[in-house]
Symmetry: C2
Subunit: 161 residues, 2 copies
Amino acid sequence: METTITHQQFLAQATELATRNVLNGGGPFGAVIVTADDQVFEGLNRVTANNDPTAHAEVTAIRAACSATGTFDLTGATLYSSCEPCPMCLASSLWARVAGVYFAADRQDAAAAGFDDAEFYDFFDTPVAERSMPVARLTLGDAGHLAPFTAWAALDSRIEY
Amino acid sequence: METTITHQQFLAQATELATRNVLNGGGPFGAVIVTADDQVFEGLNRVTANNDPTAHAEVTAIRAACSATGTFDLTGATLYSSCEPCPMCLASSLWARVAGVYFAADRQDAAAAGFDDAEFYDFFDTPVAERSMPVARLTLGDAGHLAPFTAWAALDSRIEY
């Protein structure tokens, strides 16, 4: 019960951020991250404001939390978003080792408002040959494609993630 | 024929960036974006170097290209990556309206080097109830989740993307 209330409070905070962001030149999306030790960081959609197509609210919140806490690993954190995270934001959450994601509006709500989230989810389910954006492997020859990984494996000081 | 040679030259450039990046505190990944008007921008993996789990080479290249050209829309651009883009990078490319993506190493090569790209692709194919990271909708009540989109629709000065 208490957990549910807390979830909804942070979700309401994310949604209020989204609404305020619209009046500040941003997209209608907001996010809040709560770290494992209860630090709270906010994120706003600044795609058009900052000329950065990756500046979704969830990504911005993850970046802010990582920058402020000096880590690339948010293990145990919870992400709250005003809207269902798109595949970019979901995969960003996976890389950041977020423990769970909660959202208010969903991808259909976003589509109705003119955003492509639902379509981009479909992209991952579309056979490679039929995709709107071709994604293809090309050979470099002589296994040259493995050179970066060979250098990585040979580096004693590498930081794995 | 000429196009293929150009593809491979940029792919070789991305791979060389990846190898050099390892020796400069970065992950073994590099990317190159060529815009529709033939401007070339590079990206490096700086996840651990910058404490930013979203700082994959492809994302860094997209951000650099958008920042330098003053747009959030790279329609007609081609992205070259030393390794198959993870779902985050693929969705970032979709949002940036990249026309095509070419890569050298693939997700299995990345997995063999200790990176989770293949596992994260599987995440999208896993039923919601079985996912390693829960992603769930919560209700705010009173359709409060639509407030940001209502504000957005009412804003005459909105910039759609």
